[in-house]
């Protein structure tokens, strides 16, 4: 499956070709769903996927053609749908704050935590990240995007993606460590 196929399926789906739509949907709905679930909440993810594909199907004309990959185009629309649904634009466009990079002073504790923690704990930690950092994790760590692709979706330079991802990882480590301390404190 390549970009050519994606573009052909997209064109076919817009022209009412059900088979082309099926292929396009099967190829990319999971990525769109995952993005929607992390960025807009899992309860709204179905609606975001539906709105995203509806928008894609109904858009016609030269200015509605994807300029990059079709998956970037889809995630870009999903991003817009999520922002519109939740009207959290301010949170999404927040200026990079002066969060310190969190260097673990207790790597061994963190290590134990990360090994022991369930996937659900990591997911919960990801969900508590601020949107701009969460987005970097969702696209680059959990999704299939490279820095350039993520930059296209996030509409920012590649350097910003790197910096957000780095901060996101630091924040994530910090959150997991806090969770460990809390768990350790509760233990008898």
């Amino acid at each position: 499956m390549g970009e050519m196929d994606d573009a052909r399926w997209l064109e076919g789906a817009r022209n009412g070709d059900e088979q082309a739509f099926s292929r396009l949907f099967a190829a990319h709905q999971r990525q769109v769903f995952r993005y929607a679930a992390y960025m807009g909440g899992v309860e709204a993810a179905d609606d975001v996927v539906q709105d995203t594909f509806l928008a894609v199907l109904r858009q016609r004309g030269r200015r509605d053609q994807p300029t990059g990959s079709v998956v970037s185009y889809l995630i870009g629309i999903a991003r817009h749908v999520v922002m519109k649904r939740h009207e959290r634009t301010a949170g999404w466009t927040l200026v990079e704050d002066d969060l310190e990079r969190s260097e673990s002073r207790e790597p061994s504790v963190l290590d134990r935590l990360l090994v022991a923690e369930s996937v659900e704990s990591v997911r919960a930690a990801v969900l508590t990240l601020p949107p701009v950092y969460r987005e970097a994790i969702v696209l680059c760590e959990l999704g299939e995007f490279d820095y350039a692709g993520a930059a296209a979706v996030m509409q920012c330079p590649i350097g910003t993606v790197r910096s957000r991802l780095s901060r996101a990882r630091a924040l994530l480590a910090e959150k997991l460590m806090v969770a460990l301390r809390a768990t350790a404190g509760e233990r008898p």
């Binding site: 817009r14 009412g16 995952r34 990360l114 996937v119 959990l142």
Partner: protein, 162 residues
């Protein structure tokens, strides 16, 4: 720190693997398929409308051409014969105009109606100048491919009794 980073990467990889089962529910795909079918129906309707419009235009054009051919076949020669038999043209010689010295690769004759006063500029007087001092006369203007007029002659149509 590197080890922590590795563990964090591992944890994220596990999360990614776990997320592989995430997918939109069937109702989303069903709704979207319905939309695609609607699009297909709209497209078919548009194609049908376009076909009807094209067919109507072609029919109208054919009918127009047929009507034109029928009417001209029936009345054309009669009118021409009448015209040829009853009207004669008297023309002057060509008078050079301002751009007559500009070379031209090809010339075309353009027939115009000009004011009768313009004949006087060339020292001419229409035959009926005394009875019709104002109005227009016909003139053949020689125009080059560059759009510049090179010469002019005046035309008078004379009716003849059959």
């Amino acid at each position: 720190m590197n080890q922590s980073n590795d563990h964090l990467s591992d944890a994220l990889r596990q999360l990614k693997d776990d997320d592989a089962s995430m997918a939109a529910s069937t109702r989303v795909e069903v709704a979207l398929r319905e939309e695609v079918r609607t699009l297909a129906a709209q497209r078919r309707r548009r194609t049908r409308m376009l076909f009807v419009q094209v067919a109507a235009t072609v029919t109208l054009m054919v009918a127009s051409v047929a009507w034109w051919a029928w009417t001209h076949h029936k009345t054309g020669p009669e009118v021409t014969a009448t015209t040829a038999a009853s009207v004669q043209e008297i023309v002057t010689e060509y008078f050079p105009l301002f751009y007559s010295s500009v070379p031209a690769r090809s010339l075309q004759v353009v027939r115009l109606e000009v004011s009768r006063a313009s004949m006087a500029r060339f020292g001419l007087l229409p035959g009926d100048a005394l009875t019709r001092p104002s109005g227009t006369v016909l003139a053949d203007v020689l125009v080059g491919e560059d759009g510049l007029a090179r010469a002019v002659r005046f035309v008078q149509k004379v009716s003849q009794e059959p």
